[in-house]
């Protein structure tokens, strides 16, 4: 399945400063669909190059990271249970505090 994964708000620094990643990911064996839970593991193993604790805490993203699936807060689609479809765009963005 082809997905676009984007990082912002400084999270791109964890993946060699690359913001946009076009990825190919397989649905886990035995599963009907790919869920955000699976994508998080994949991203952590394949895209995050340093300081993984700045991205993940426990089995989800660390506090202060907004997750958007097709420009919509993943809270509205079931968080880790959100299922993904071909060509979906997933954005991980760290909240900013500066001014």
């Amino acid at each position: 399945m082809q997905l676009t994964v984007e990082f912002g708000g400084g999270l791109e620094l964890l993946c060699n400063s690359v913001k946009i990643h076009n990825i190919n990911i397989e649905t886990p064996k035995g599963a009907q669909q790919l869920a955000m839970r699976d994508l998080l593991v994949w991203v952590q193993n394949n895209l995050i190059k340093e300081r993984p604790e700045m991205f993940i805490k426990g089995d989800t993203v660390r506090p202060g990271v907004l997750v958007l699936v097709n420009d919509c807060d993943w809270e509205l689609s079931g968080q880790l249970d959100t299922t993904l479809e071909e060509k979906d765009v997933v954005v991980f963005i760290s909240t900013l505090h500066g001014g």
């Binding site: 913001k19 506090p63 202060g64 919509c72 509205l76 760290s94 909240t95 505090h97 500066g98 001014g99």
Partner: protein, 462 residues
């Protein structure tokens, strides 16, 4: 030539003196104007929301309360069918508080003053610095060293003397926030730190005020409206504060001046929309701005959370709880974005002051100086003959230190000094070097900042 130089210096200092006098006089004039307005205001009926109706009290007999001068001043807004007299009249009766007169607050305040908000409050306790000027465009060079609130207020008054400008020359704290925020209809968060953002949002929930929240760092910005029309509060979105390592400061990470400028303008726009009751405020949505790629994305965010500890169904967050809440402890970071606290990781004999280092340098001591700042910092300015090995790469590049020492003079005999910007990373580096066997490594206390302060005042600081 010499006398020419002296003449120029004399003229410059005379100009400086006159400018200072001029701005003092201007400040006095605007203070007197404000007093006069208050007097006129008190003599007339007090408006329903307690704010001064200003020149509307001149009653033009036109039914909408706008004086002939106001009609002329705001004519281009009055001509807008979707804004018009009603929205302008709402705006003139409204009051808006801007917390922070920095990169976001600068353009926000300028536009809010210009567009005709009735009363405009400014909260800040910082002073104007040279390294603010590239983004905090409300301030001018003449105000360097003076309070940002005074500078911003003077600029606002210069643009629109009919707006009542209120100066709050203090840091916003839980002890004064309720009192200050309660006097305004709309709050604009233009601060620069995490605890401030939680504190302002909680205070807005307690008082039932709409909050226009903006943030910018590097080349990105974010914007949303909280606690309005059933939308979420800041805590609904971020119930748990981020780790302190995720809270970058403009003074460490940098920021392109125009980026907070754009977000600040958008904050002014959202505040104007709320105060004048036009359009669709950015509620339940967040605007994400990426300057480098030229992208603006507006995303849908969650609504008010039923479980929110502050605004949720069963939340009982009272004024008293707000006043007793420790926001610095909650977020593990200070309520101002000033320099990080000084670490003290090493014993005294593993440290050396910049002055002592300079003495040893002058005495020709054979040594290696390792600068552990990131490479892009090193490129801004560095001490001669220093070796740049960023802290993050130190582990991999120990061989370079060993060979430099060997080259300098028989292994481990040459001394090894470590420097950074402020003297924290250098201590971390020395700690690591000690562990790995470079037991003679010493850090230069206070880093390049102390070098510039105590040894070479002409050395650039950033």
């Amino acid at each position: 030539m010499d006398s020419g130089g002296a003449d120029a210096a004399r003229i410059l200092s005379e100009i400086k003196g006159l400018k200072a006098t001029k701005s003092d006089i201007e400040a006095k004039i605007s203070a007197l104007e404000a007093q006069l307005k208050d007097l006129n205001c008190r003599n007339d009926a007090v408006s329903s929301n307690g704010s001064c109706p200003l020149a509307t009290s001149l009653d033009s007999g036109l039914g909408h309360g706008l004086s002939p001068e106001m009609i002329h001043r705001y004519s281009r807004q009055l001509l807008l069918p979707s804004f018009g007299v009603q929205a302008q009249s709402n705006l003139l009766k409204s009051s808006i508080l801007v917390v922070g007169a920095g990169g976001l607050g600068s353009p926000a305040l300028l536009y809010l003053a210009a567009c005709g908000v009735g009363r405009l409050g400014i909260v800040d306790n910082d002073e104007v610095e040279l390294n603010n000027m590239h983004r905090q465009i409300i301030h001018t060079e003449a105000y360097i060293g003076r309070l940002k609130v005074e500078s911003a207020a003077a600029a606002c008054r210069a643009i629109n003397s009919t707006v009542q400008i209120v100066e709050h020359k203090e840091a916003l704290r839980t002890s004064n926030a309720l009192e200050i925020l309660s006097k305004y209809d709309v709050v604009v968060d233009a601060t620069d730190n995490a605890p401030g953002r939680y504190m302002i949002s909680d205070c807005c929930v307690v008082l039932g005020k709409p909050l226009v929240s903006g943030a910018a760092l590097g080349l990105e910005g974010q914007l949303s409206v909280y606690n309005y029309n059933g939308g979420p509060c800041y805590r609904c979105l971020f119930p748990t504060p981020p780790p302190t390592t995720a809270c970058q400061r403009c003074s460490d990470s940098g920021v392109l001046g125009v980026v907070p400028g754009i977000i600040g303008c958008l904050q002014a726009l959202e505040a104007i929309k709320i105060a004048s009751a036009v359009g669709e405020p950015l509620v339940g949505r967040m605007l994400l701005f990426d300057a480098l790629s030229g992208r603006i994305r507006i995303v849908k965010i969650r609504g008010r959370s039923l479980h929110c500890e502050v605004c949720g169904e069963n939340a009982t967050f009272t004024r008293q709880q707000f006043q007793e809440f420790d926001y610095e402890k909650f977020t593990q970071s200070p309520l101002s974005a000033s320099a990080p606290p000084k670490l003290n990781l090493l014993s005294g004999d593993s440290r050396i002051s910049s002055k002592d280092y300079n003495e040893r340098l002058k005495n020709g001591e054979v040594h290696i100086l390792v600068d552990v700042r990131p490479e892009h910092h090193f490129r801004i300015v560095s001490l001669p003959n220093s070796l740049n090995i960023p802290l993050s790469t130190l582990e991999k590049r120990l061989a370079e230190i060993s060979s430099a020492l060997r080259e300098a003079e028989g292994q481990r005999d040459a001394s090894l000094y470590v420097i950074c910007r402020r003297g924290n990373d250098s201590q971390r580096a020395v700690n690591y070097l000690h562990d790995i066997g470079f037991t003679s490594a010493k850090d230069i206390i206070g880093g390049l900042e102390s070098w510039a302060r105590d040894v070479d005042p002409s050395f650039p600081t950033y």
